[in-house]
Symmetry: C2
Subunit: 280 residues, 2 copies
């Protein structure tokens, strides 16, 4: 369909070959234009690489380095990188500085619904409380909480681990009004305090939840906890917990977009600790 894609040598892991990518050029027929889209090189490259990944590579396998690949395809390294970035965004590649580029395993399905609507921290919900501080939330969160813009709230940091890898970092915002008994307790530090806040929260009647998902990029702290570079794409899940007619808590959880597929709904399709193997 597209012009002349030289695809025969594919990648040829070892050999030094040259498989110049040709972008499809516009072809005008009379005055109407068909196939007028000059596909960018990096787009073609991405397609070619994606096919190669399907056919010639196993999960975990290391690709040739960027300089080699670029030379092999006859493009500048920046162009090749644009293709690799796309593939990484789609969860097909994993790149690590100082190490190399590997074929990523299929995305992990992580359930984002608490079986029955439930408070965070109830039972074994795969989250581990890590820290608790008191600070003024961002304007956006303050709006959701209906607190004053300079009012301090408890902030519980939690980490979600799946298959041994960190998949999400959460910041749970709890206004003091939601945990009135807490100050009475002599405040312990760090994780213990975090657990106290969660325990107090669970004493309230949970009347409902609210959830939103959007694309974001990891901040410096989230990135470190998720073992990614700052700016890495994340899926931001914002959950509001309602109790006694008001918003009792707001959770902002950032999931690694490259490795995660968020699942909703009763019977989940893969996982639930199921093996989910699909190695080639």
């Amino acid at each position: 369909m597209v012009a002349g894609i030289v695809q025969e040598p594919l990648i040829n892991k070892g050999a030094e070959q040259r498989a110049p990518v040709q972008r499809s050029r516009r072809i005008r027929v009379g005055t109407t234009q068909l196939e007028s889209v000059p596909e960018p090189k990096y787009w073609h490259l991405k397609t070619v690489l994606a096919e190669a990944l399907d056919t010639d590579f196993a999960v975990g396998e290391i690709l040739p380095n960027e300089r080699d690949l670029a030379a092999r395809f006859g493009v500048a390294r920046a162009t090749l990188r644009q293709a690799l970035e796309q593939l990484e965004l789609e969860g097909r590649l994993q790149r690590r500085r100082g190490v190399g580029t590997t074929v990523a395993p299929p995305r992990v399905g992580v359930d984002v619904t608490t079986s029955r609507q439930d408070w965070p921290g109830t039972g074994n919900d795969a989250w581990q409380a890590a820290e608790c501080t008191v600070a003024v939330p961002s304007a956006a969160v303050a709006r959701l909480l209906d607190t004053e813009t300079d009012e301090e709230v408890h902030m519980v940091r939690r980490l979600r681990v799946s298959h041994g890898r960190p998949v999400a970092a959460e910041l749970l915002h709890v206004p003091s009004a939601s945990v009135p008994e807490l100050p009475a307790i002599e405040a312990p530090s760090g994780p213990a305090l975090a657990r106290s806040v969660l325990r107090e929260l669970q004493r309230l009647d949970l009347e409902g939840q609210d959830r939103a998902v959007e694309l974001g990029s990891a901040g410096t702290v989230d990135a470190r906890e998720l073992d990614r570079l700052p700016g890495a794409p994340v899926l931001v899940v914002t959950t509001r917990y309602f109790s006694e007619g008001r918003t009792a808590a707001v959770s902002v959880a950032t999931y690694r977009a490259d490795t995660c597929r968020l699942t909703f709904g009763g019977d989940v399709e893969i996982n639930h600790h199921g093996q989910q193997r699909r190695a080639s």
Copy 2:
């Protein structure tokens, strides 16, 4: 906190100034390293620009062009573009070739739950059926549908519009087994056929749904329908519809990640045709 950010001139929409960005350098104290992170220029730039957007620009306003901005901050255009890309990914900017870069309005909240669990195409669900073809689905979809890998299914293309803008493109996969009566009808073409398939589908008892969200990049056709360039980031919502103990249909909807915030749960926070204005 960080080294010396020259932030005084901010952007100064008209004037020609130079505000070189300085990256924070590592500072070693004895042998332990504090502040060791040499923040990338583009990261700093992004932060500075984000603040400028908050304080000095209104929604819809046009930014200076990339060459000007790059010169003003004393960086190469590629570096500036890296910062802009991040901001666009976060939904704060909108860039259009041949036009310019504008400040994006806040993301639109689009509800991804059909109030009561319901078939697609029921009532006014903001989707407009556009097309219907018969083809072999991708391997991934075939696996979800439990069909043979070479079995053809009906593919209904629909477009979702919100606030006058296309926000999502859907491909609904319906195996023939789910619409047994359909062949009897003399097949009309395009939109009419699409509506027929939806109508037939709605005759089944819907037993449940299943939903997953992940990050993807727009293919050529989706990109065109969403008025974006190929490769644009999208939130892919995969929905399975269950009936009579099997998967009766699978919907793959791609939402513009830059302009959309997917909402779940009963009472939505913004929108529902509510104005949701926040122009400054």
